[in-house]
């Protein structure tokens, strides 16, 4: 177990290193000059050049990368144009938000977590539940209804369902407040009220996919020998389905769920835009639009961290769910 974890974490570190190098190179490949956003319209080339000089954008790229990495682990001095001393983990200074990148992240990360985690619980319960029921009641009206639901969910885009939910529950019925984020620590009820539409919209979209996957997996598992054996030795259906079939059927779903949740944590751009909530996704979009390179770097890195971590978690879960898997 410990050996497995160390191995996984090492390879995760390697992945993150590769991502950081790529993101850093992308930073320079972008068709945008990071300093143009910092000048008024009638800014002259000489002043732009001085700004570039001061920001260290004229230094060799390797040096810039080393300085950036040093900032993450021990902090660095960014100069007065970027707020001065920046303590570890320093991810640079955001020109768009006029604050340290870590300050922005500290604010928007809880938002995205608050959107994604409850939504993921909702879509997994709903999706897997529907898929199972539909597999067990194969061919009946329950099955057809579930399939219809999942088809609808998979074919409607979030910006559509989101807008409909907003119009019905916020603008017309006025039963919910405008979508917003309050910390769960400050006011759990308001936290839920402000985000529930985002959860529902996301869950509707994803649960559809999971329902279909779960149904197919379950059907396949039900036709396997070990299920027949279980049945033949006289186990109750509950035990056959619950303990044997479900565990086998759910393994591939966990892989996909891990990737989905990881990716969603990296930024639910469309959800955040539809509901006008400022999380990691929108922050990334504005950073790209505004040419705010330190912020772009940070959002790319954070997204990578989530995906990599999600994969480690998935591997661990495998062992729990599937007794055939041993962690080595």
């Amino acid at each position: 177990m410990a050996r497995f974890l160390i191995k996984r974490l090492l390879s995760a570190t390697l992945t993150l290193f590769a991502v950081s190098v790529l993101a850093f190179l992308m930073f320079f490949a972008l068709p945008r000059d990071p300093v143009t956003g910092m000048c008024p319209k009638n800014c002259n080339p000489e002043r732009l050049e001085r700004v570039r000089e001061e920001l260290g954008l004229r230094d060799p790229k390797i040096e810039q990368y080393a300085a950036y990495m040093k900032g993450i682990f021990v902090g660095r001095d960014l100069g007065s144009a970027q707020g001065g001393r920046c303590d570890a983990p320093c991810l640079g200074y955001s020109y768009v938000n006029s604050e340290a990148v870590t300050d922005t992240l500290a604010r928007v990360l809880p938002v995205t977590l608050s959107i994604v985690i409850p939504a993921a619980i909702l879509w997994l319960l709903l999706g897997v539940g529907l898929g199972m029921v539909s597999a067990l009641k194969r061919g009946t009206w329950v099955d057809r209804l579930a399939i219809g639901f999942s088809l609808t969910g998979a074919s409607l885009q979030l910006y559509f369902t989101g807008a409909v939910l907003l119009i019905v529950f916020v603008y017309q019925l006025k039963v919910l407040p405008n979508p917003h984020y309050t910390s769960i620590l400050d006011d759990p009820l308001d936290w839920a009220k402000g985000l529930v539409l985002a959860w529902v919209a996301l869950a509707f979209l994803f649960s559809a996919i999971y329902a279909r996957l779960a149904r197919a997996q379950m059907l396949e598992t039900l036709s396997e020998d070990f299920v027949r054996t279980a049945r033949a030795k006289g186990l109750a259906s509950k035990a056959v389905y619950g303990r044997h079939a479900l565990r086998a059927a759910i393994t591939p779903l966990v892989t996909i769920a891990g990737l989905d949740v990881g990716a969603a944590l990296g930024g639910t751009v469309i959800t955040e835009t539809t509901f006008g909530i400022q999380g990691l996704g929108r922050t990334a979009v504005y950073a790209v639009r505004g040419g705010d390179l330190p912020m772009i770097m940070a959002t790319v890195l954070i997204a990578a961290v989530f995906v990599v971590l999600a994969n480690v978690v998935v591997d661990l879960l495998y062992a729990v769910i599937d007794p055939r898997v041993r962690l080595r």
Partner: protein
């Protein structure tokens, strides 16, 4: 002075609406023109500002906007949202008294008058600071803090703000190399002095009659040196106005609450009606407008700052209750079809283009009268001293016959450059102009490069659409900037018609040397003369601002200076 990129984006958002102009559609006050002066009577600069009809105290006024305001630090504010927000917490040396109908008066804000032109040559200016003006901590505002504010605008770290005053003081575009703010903290830039606590004095190498106007921008706001947090001031500015920022979450919310040290008796324009102003960022333009339409809870006293998007125009104009809650007004942002006179050298051709233009058709194609209003002058109607004229009268839809007559059988082949995000505008112009005998070739330019490319002197196009919004509504910040040929450089030109006429250039010099208050009628005359003698462009339209507010929001009007909502009179109906 800058091309208003933000405004262009806003317009792109609302453009493309199918235009449906019916009799009961919205009515735009086409006649809104600026009559303005610089106050000569010190009484005009005294407070308190006259009470707003029906205004009551209390409540929270909410402004809904999609993205955050780019800067709050007064020395860095230069975006429209920033410019209309800043007066709530930053006072300036001068400011505009604006009745929202075009009557503008430049008055003293922190200064007792809008400035004394000491030797009448616009090279030495003096401002006397009012008594009783205070910061949010109760400290008095003196000439020292105002001068410090101007000094810190020399700091190259503090990007984003206007650069007029710095350039004039340093007599150089590279003002930050002429005077190093960080190396000289505690000192003042060359030409700026404070003979005593009540006096601030500007001495320039050259005449700058526009100084009183330039000082109306937030960059002349005061700051005590011990409150200067450098770049961090941007998230927590120090207030001198009727409100102070009590909470700021970048990209999410700004909460402004009453500043009890602000004395209405010193302020000629601002009020302090709502308990709070709240900017809330996030909702896209549709969601913002939908919230205000729904009119529930705090949104009843809200304004949707991103305007009425095209998808909602027919819903809003068709609903009497919503119509009552909408504000529609032309803005000072003017779009013209620039003619590259280096390539189109024949005056008759340029005049024929002016006869041929179908303004009505063009405006319909971009969304109709809630988006644009036609103009025939180079200065927008919101300019002080504006005189309406039409040098080439051809009716709302143009006169192709008259154009053909001028062309005398020629069929000039012209290249029209158009941003690839608004190709349909090019198509509209092409079909319009070809009716008058022109042969138009449409060339698309990547939208984000269009501005830079047309500003290059040797650009390969004959015609392109250009916009201009001046930082103050004086001809001085429009005509010489756009049509003085002596300032043409290899790139970065604002004179995108590339005209260079000696007679007109010397007229610019003559008018610019006049006392600012006497310049206005001269600019109007010059506007018409440029159109008649040079026809360097085809004036097409000014942008129209179209806003919606909740049923309890009152006192909002569209600023005659910036064309965006002004909050100095805003209140919440109780």
């Amino acid at each position: 002075m800058r091309n208003r990129v933000a405004a262009a984006f806003a317009l792109v958002l609302v453009a493309g609406a199918c235009s449906e102009t019916t009799d009961d559609g919205p009515s735009v006050d086409q006649q809104r023109t600026a009559t303005g002066v610089i106050a000569t009577d010190p009484k005009d600069s005294l407070g308190p500002a006259p009470e707003v009809l029906g205004a009551t105290k209390g409540g929270t006024f909410t402004v809904i906007r999609e993205v955050k305001i780019s800067h709050l630090d007064p020395q860095r504010v230069y975006s429209f949202a920033g410019l209309v927000n800043a007066p709530l917490y930053a006072r300036t040396l001068t400011t505009w008294k604006d009745d929202g109908k075009g009557n503008l008066t430049l008055v003293g804000d922190l200064a007792q008058t809008p400035g004394t032109n000491v030797s009448n040559d616009c090279k030495v200016w003096e401002f006397k600071v009012k008594d009783g003006v205070k910061f949010e901590d109760g400290r008095p505002i003196t000439a020292k803090e105002i001068a410090y504010g101007i000094a810190r605008s020399f700091d190259p770290d503090l990007t984003g703000g206007p650069t007029y005053v710095q350039e004039w003081l340093a007599d150089s575009a590279d003002y930050d190399t002429k005077w190093d703010f960080k190396a000289n903290k505690g000192a003042l830039p060359p030409g700026l002095t404070t003979p005593d606590d009540k006096t601030i004095r500007f001495e320039f190498a050259k005449a700058h009659c526009d100084l009183p106007f330039a000082l109306s921008l937030p960059a002349s706001a005061p700051l005590p040196p011990d409150k200067d947090t450098g770049v961090n001031l941007d998230n927590q500015p120090f207030s001198s106005g009727p409100y102070k920022i009590t909470k700021h979450t970048p990209g999410v919310e700004i909460v402004l609450e009453r500043n009890e040290h602000w004395d209405p008796a010193t302020d000629p324009v601002r009020h302090q009606y709502p308990d709070k102003f709240v900017w809330t960022f996030g909702p896209d333009p549709n969601a913002g407008a939908n919230r205000v339409i729904a009119d529930s809870g705090p949104d009843q006293s809200a304004l949707a700052f991103n305007g009425v998007p095209s998808a909602l125009v027919s819903q809003v104009t068709g609903n009497a209750a919503l119509k009552e809650r909408s504000i529609i007004s032309p803005t000072p942002t003017e779009w013209r079809l620039s003619i590259n006179t280096q390539r189109v050298t024949d005056l008759a051709t340029r005049q024929a283009l002016n006869y041929a233009i179908d303004r009505d058709g063009f405006i319909k194609s971009i969304g109709g009268e809630t988006v644009a209003a036609p103009v025939t002058t180079l200065m927008p109607p919101a300019t002080i001293g504006y005189q309406k004229y039409d040098a080439y009268p051809a009716g709302a839809n143009g006169n192709p016959d008259k154009a053909k007559e001028l062309l005398a059988g020629k069929t000039p082949a012209l290249v029209l450059g158009v941003g690839d995000d608004v190709v349909e505008r090019g198509t509209q112009l092409k079909s319009n102009l070809e009716k008058a005998g022109f042969k138009i070739t449409l060339k698309t330019i990547p939208a984000d490069a269009k501005l830079d490319e047309t500003k290059k002197k040797d650009n390969p196009w004959d015609l392109y659409l250009d916009s201009w919004a001046a930082d103050w509504p004086s001809g001085a910040s429009i005509l010489p900037v756009l049509f003085d040929g002596r300032s043409i450089k290899a790139e970065g030109n604002s004179n995108t018609s590339y005209v260079n006429d000696d007679a007109i250039n010397s007229e610019f010099d003559r008018v610019l040397a006049m006392p600012p208050a006497d310049q206005a009628p001269e600019w109007a005359k010059l506007d018409e003369r440029i159109m008649r003698e040079l026809a360097p462009a085809v004036p097409v339209y000014v942008e129209v601002a179209y806003y919606l507010h909740g049923s309890k929001a009152g006192g909002v009007f569209v600023s005659s200076v910036f064309g965006y909502p002004s909050f100095v009179n805003a209140f919440v109906k109780q």
